[in-house]
Amino acid sequence: MKRLMINVNSWTISASCIIILLFLPNITILKGIFVPSNENWEHLKKFVLQNYIQTSVILVVFTAIFSIVIGLSLAWLIAQYQFPLRNFFKWALILPLAIPPFIGAYTYHGIVNYTGVIQKTLRNEFNITVNPSFFDIMNIPGAIFIYTLFLYPYVYTITRIFLSNQSASLIESAKILGKGPWQIFFQIVIPISRVAIIGGSSLVILEVLNDYGVVKYFGIQTFSTAIFQTWFGFGDIETSIKLAASLMGFVILILVFEKLFRGKKQFSFASTKVKPLPLIRLVGLKALFATSYVLIIFCFAFLIPVAQLVSWFILTFGKIPMDEFFQHIKNSVFVAGVSAAIIIFCALIIGNFSRIVKGRYVKILPKITVLGYSIPGAVIAVAVVTTFITLDRFLTPLYAVMGIDSKLVLSVSIVMLITAYIIRFFAIGYNAIESGYDKIGTDFSHASRILGAGLMRTFVKVDLPMMKGAIISGFILVFIDIMKEIPLTLILRPFNFDTLATKAFQYASDERIMEASQASLFIITISAIAIFVFHYLLEKGPK
């Protein structure tokens, strides 16, 4: 009781309120499981649910396998060998992350379809007409191809950093014991990188389950598309909540599997001592093979789609009214900026609460808020809309007093979209802030308090100036993710409100692929700069 009394302060109260608000919409979804099922749900369950599960599992499993193969092989080549252009590729191989998969999907479709550059060149230059179905990528294998190309950097980045920093002594021991490069790769590298590989591939899986843009564009039925379809097609929010709850169950299962697979191995490499892996110089054919392999991946995952987008941009330049384009930039920057600022502000409060307040159970609370990132956008969208409609119903008498005619005010405003962004991307901002707090430790704030400064003065004068780096990097990461976001924005945006991402998606869906290039290139450029700067700083930062 005494501990509770001591811990109750403005920080505890604000942090508790934020945590509850962030978690509230998830309760709506969990509650939905227990609502009696209706006809639509029974129909879905009987005829199509199995299909959704099957498709989602195929997409997830194959994308994960291919991402691991590509990500791990690239990470190993870059971490262990010196070959021509290696230093360039070390950074360049992260860049595909700047391309949202839906942009990659419509770009590739544009490249390989009947009027695309490949078939057109074959027809016009070589007089070869191919069976169009040969180049059809709008199917499940095509989606796996797209996801793998644009999501493998998650596996590559995490594994490369791990291998470069942590594996030197083990690999050197294996060499001394007479093992060759292949034996080292299969017997040492793969087992010791297990944690990094699982960490990276879990992110890939969560991204695939969250995706709406690729599957919608390719016409593939997954949980995400089904949630939207039941909601907008049938107008049946109860069934979409049930679908969302099933998907959430699926995600929780994956997170449990991830924890199980990681096991206790994660503690084996807790050493913070960094010993860089000495590079082996490749010459002759081996060097040629290494450079070619990496170059091919880089071309497919970044160079070819960007070159295609640039060529479309040149062709359509001036066709899109600039004032409209600037309005979309303004909208994107506004929602991303406001949401990122709120996320960082809340993360600072919760992070500080977690440091100030003592007690084992209190430390678990902030972790709840991080769950949002694992929950797919479609689920969050359903949860937020349901919560906001309930809120509007509750506030109707107040609206009447204020002279507002409409019964729906909050649920048609931009507040709803920003709330959804905050729930979905809170984890990204929070992780950056939490690691910032970890880095500065508690001695400085304790020193400040002992010198007579209260919690607020300590926060403003001591913590904030020292957290500048973490605040900036957290803001950049959230900002970029929101700029690229599709499902939440599509569903929750107010009428006539477009961002660069929704406009690009809309143009692509309307088969105006070329017009989509301008907005897409803008998103890619901004994201690429931010990703590059972030990873560069991360690597250069104090070890």
Binding site: H446, S448, L451, G452, V462, M466
Partner: protein
């Protein structure tokens, strides 16, 4: 008797055992006390409890007439009027020497602040270093700034956590003497914890030897000379 610590017990949330067990002692005004013990003996926990950074499970702590904690009272660190010099000094890296010292003087007028900063800088012999940042100072200078910062608000009690552990052997010898002079000149009641018996013998008026959170022996340095401290207490 100026300070009274009675039956203080403390345990960490992840442990059932008491890290501090029935710790009691009294201190006279201006006295310099050394808590001597090996690492893990609970000596730093005592400092943190007295500073208000940890919540004891039992006990009372009074300075003069003020009860700082008891079964139903807990005064937050910022209200205790206690100074603490951290083991790694915890000087705010984004503030200059002057700004670090000024930080604890926010209740004084501007004129009083400047006067007090000048006084403590003279006391620790760092006049001329006002505009330097912590990273521009040597280890010994940083320690002096930390001491000046802790002394500036005129605390009732000064706590020092392993004040010499970050200094090399040559500097330790010089600073031990300087520190005792400064503490005596400022006439401030102080408790410092150390694992080094030489520090304790050189600085303290009284030594409190602890092991596993319990007081093993209390006495003047000369009384402790016969004790095989090195074998028992040192790691």
């Amino acid at each position: 008797m100026f300070i009274a610590i009675e039956n203080v017990c403390f345990s960490y949330s992840n442990s059932k055992e008491n890290a501090i067990d029935e710790f009691s002692m009294t201190i006279e005004k201006g006295e310099v006390i050394s808590i001597l013990g090996r690492s893990g003996s609970g000596k730093s926990s005592i400092l943190r409890i007295l500073a208000g950074l940890e919540l004891p499970t039992k006990g009372t702590f009074t300075i003069g007439d003020n009860v700082l904690f008891s079964s139903n009272i807990f005064v937050h660190p910022e209200k205790r009027g206690i100074g603490l010099v951290f083991q790694d000094y915890a000087l705010f890296p984004h503030m200059t020497v002057t700004e670090n010292i000024r930080f604890g003087l926010f209740r004084l007028s501007k004129k009083e602040k400047e006067k007090r900063i000048k006084e403590v800088l003279e006391l620790v012999e760092l006049t001329g270093f006002e505009k330097r940042y912590p990273y521009q100072l040597s280890g010994g200078q940083q320690q002096r700034v930390a001491l000046a910062r802790a002394l500036a608000p005129k605390p009732n009690l000064l706590l020092l956590d392993e004040p010499f552990s970050n200094l090399d052997a040559e500097l330790q010898y010089k600073i031990r003497k300087d520190l005792r002079d400064i503490l005596k000149k400022a006439n401030i009641t102080s408790i410092f914890v150390t694992h080094d018996e030489n520090d304790a013998h050189a600085l303290a008026d009284r030594i409190v030897k602890i092991d596993k959170g319990k007081i093993v022996k209390v006495g003047r340095p000369c009384d402790m000379l016969g004790m095989p401290i090195k074998q028992e207490v040192m790691q």
